[in-house]
């Protein structure tokens, strides 16, 4: 249970809150 709860909390809940912070954006590698 701790594993599933942890994954949901960190990847979904905290991931959504964190995505609203003004972090610099990773850019995809340039296409040839």
């Amino acid at each position: 249970m701790s594993f599933i709860l942890g994954v949901v909390l960190f990847t979904v809940v905290i991931g959504i809150i964190d995505a609203r912070l003004p972090w610099p954006i990773a850019r995809p590698s340039r296409q040839r």
């Binding site: 942890g6 994954v7 960190f10 809150i17 995505a19 972090w23 990773a26 995809p28």
Partner: protein, 194 residues
């Protein structure tokens, strides 16, 4: 180890702000996600050590010769990094792939010599693991240090990135508290064998 991996990923976010946190968090548990799938399929499994209750903290021999073998972990980390490269570019993909592999590195001191080198335990090579789980207090404290350190590094970076924006600063405080709280909550559940 569960919470310690999240703590490490939070610390990496503090140093690599362009990589999305959710990707780092999923990467740090990628090997265990695959383990859960293989466990459900009956390919991998867990055996409690003698005298231990099933699910007790650190008291299992883990039969994960695919997801947690050195070769398997390397392949899975490469796959995760390759998937990340499709969306986030080469640098972020390398970071995400390394975080995925960090799971194996961090598991090495914890496991009780049950980590194979080759896929499926081929070659009858010695199994790896330093067995810190024999000492639940020490392994719990190591995980706690990773959670506290990761939350501190993440929080510092989040507050720096928010700058003078009051809304962003508030969200940074909420998110930092959530990283710390979720880490402690996950560690607590794990230590209690839940």
């Amino acid at each position: 180890m569960i919470a310690g991996h999240f703590g490490f990923a939070a610390a990496v976010k503090g140093r690599a702000p362009t990589v999305p946190l959710w990707a780092l968090m999923l990467a740090c548990q990628w090997l265990d996600v695959v383990f859960v799938v293989l466990f459900a399929a009956g390919v991998e499994g867990l055996t409690p050590v003698a005298g231990a209750k099933a699910g007790a903290y650190g008291a299992s021999i883990i039969h994960a010769d695919f997801s947690h073998s050195l070769v398997g972990a390397s392949i899975l980390s490469l796959v995760f990094g390759a998937l990340a490269s499709l969306r986030y570019g080469r640098r972020s993909a390398v970071i995400v792939g390394l975080v995925a592999f960090s799971h194996w590195i961090l598991d090495l001191p914890m496991h009780r010599a049950d980590m194979s080198i080759m896929l499926g335990g081929a070659g009858d090579l010695p199994k790896l693991g330093l067995g810190l789980w024999r000492y639940p207090l020490a392994s719990g404290l190591l995980e706690l240090a990773l959670v506290l350190g990761g939350a501190a590094l993440y929080g510092r970076a989040a507050h720096r990135i928010a700058g003078g924006d009051l809304g962003a600063a508030r969200r940074a405080r909420v998110c930092s508290a959530a990283v710390l709280g979720a880490g402690l909550f996950t560690l607590g559940l794990n230590v209690l064998g839940l």
